[in-house]
Symmetry: C2
């Protein structure tokens, strides 16, 4: 990556941004070099997490709220995890469809293909958001599929996290995971034209009030994304949370937590690479697996043994 | 855990099995001690993985196929990941509902609450399957939610992996992830009474034929789980794959791969515990995060530095 490329990036060339994002997404030394170079310029954007189950209508909501920000002359970027069913390779298709809608060049949309793990996916989304942040986007949406222990993944990815729910038949607010309740700073009941939506939203409000243990009571916004209903309210709710964060050092606190998280994630990944990439360990694994196969050791005893060569020098 | 408990377990007491599973699920030294004690008895059960998106009808299929095995006088165990929406704490509810159906004591059903990560979930499911295996169950179903990089998770969990799909409006076989295509040994098109089901199944068959690179061409079975249609065919397809595996040392090959995987997973988890549990590392993390916050280092440079005290002794 030549200096020339970075110059074009900082001059606001979309193609240069796309190219840097591809390098970052591919990972490795080159990706890291880009991130190191951009890091001093990262930290100005406001990041909005939008999470929810496949089919909840996240993309439609993100598109609609983006327009509000565009109207207010803010530049917008969107990082979307595979926007389709977990069973389809939706990233490519989704990219194409959404790119077409994004004719307004104030919105930069990027889908991420899936990664080896959920953690890998979050790490990649955060890195791409960093590129858009350094690129000067004011607002960055991180659209994530809520799967598994999502609370673990998205806790520090965004400044404001919106949890998008839909009132499906038979769904009960009581059954929402407590972790999900804790991670949401704004709740959206989308498809609010459905029969039981109002009751669902009211139940959600009662539950949030009961649980409240901080100064911020997460608002519940009712929307119909496909008919642009409730979008203004959602935009306002996000902005109210942003205002809240801007007080009493809360934004700085979030920044520290998020950086700590990031360092830990990167170190974790590298720890595994170093360990399993080591010749001694690889040979040891082969011989130990052989004795597990022969029934001489349990996998747990074997795992303990593999870790024996590991040492942490306290002087360094 | 007293010897008496293991005696009751090996005598076939369901309560003792439940108790041991709870200990294993809780993890730690006690869980590991149970797994070590049971390991010599593990390896007789046939494991059938059933994976698919939430709502695909996996539980209904597993229940129906279980009955076929029960009719053939096989004892059955089911390990089910959170059977409800990823957004609900379904494990508890699911447990209750399914336990009631399992009045036949030849079927032992156990749901797992979600874990810190997908990998943690797979590891836990495999461990609980080990307990049921040692308990003498002939057939063990591992019902997993297909999320994220599921191919990565379930590759070595089962002897026969069934991928359950449903032909939803607009779905296209072409968009199925290639990883998913590779992991399935039996494909099920459930809800086959839907309009486009036949075409979907046919497309799937064509695609599998094109991709075929081994001796085994995965069959595509059309089922309507709720009306018990196609259950006999599904049962037969699984048994045909089992028969295939029993030849040419394939079963042994699967066993070795699965044990290698298991050792690696356990060691991986422990590696992180050892590393981050170390005092030197924890102190180092604090001071390094501070310099990232101050803008003196990027998170990537910081991560490299944290790993410096790591050493792998080649003599051990």
């Amino acid at each position: 990556m030549t200096q020339d490329y970075f110059d074009r990036f900082f001059a606001g060339e979309t193609l240069a941004a796309s190219r840097l994002m591809s390098i970052v997404e591919a990972g490795g030394k080159a990706g890291e070099a880009v991130l190191n170079r951009l890091f001093p310029e990262v930290g100005r954007a406001y990041r909005i997490g939008v999470t929810g189950f496949t089919g909840a209508g996240k993309s439609t909501l993100v598109d609609a709220v983006s327009r509000r920000y565009r109207d207010a002359e803010k530049s917008v970027g969107v990082i979307a995890e595979d926007p389709s069913s977990p069973f389809t390779g939706g990233a490519i298709l989704g990219d194409r469809v959404r790119m077409q809608q994004a004719s307004d060049d104030g919105v930069f949309i990027r889908s991420i293909a899936s990664r080896g793990s959920e953690t890998g996916l979050s790490a990649c989304a955060t890195q791409l958001a960093d590129v858009l942040d350094a690129f000067g986007r004011d607002i960055i949406f991180l659209e994530t599929i809520g799967i598994g222990q999502l609370e673990y993944r998205i806790r520090h990815m965004a400044h404001t996290t919106c949890v998008v729910l839909t009132p499906d038949a038979g769904d009960d607010v009581q059954s929402l995971k407590s972790g999900l309740m804790e991670v949401g700073e704004v709740f959206v009941v989308n498809k609010a034209d459905r029969e039981n939506a109002r009751r669902y939203a009211d139940d959600l409000r009662s539950m949030l009030e009961l649980r409240q243990n901080a100064d911020w009571l997460p608002p519940v916004v009712e929307t119909v994304g496909t008919r642009e209903k409730g979008i203004g309210e959602l935009h306002e709710a996000i902005e109210r949370h942003r205002e809240y964060l801007s007080q009493d050092g809360r934004l700085e606190e979030k920044r520290v937590e998020s950086l700590r998280d990031r360092v830990t994630l990167v170190a974790d990944e590298r720890l595994r690479e170093l360990f399993w990439g080591n010749d001694t360990i690889r040979k040891k694994l082969d011989s130990i697996v052989a004795s597990v196969v022969a029934g001489k050791k349990s996998p747990y005893e074997a795992a303990r043994e593999i870790l024996e060569p590991l040492a942490i020098n306290s002087r360094k």
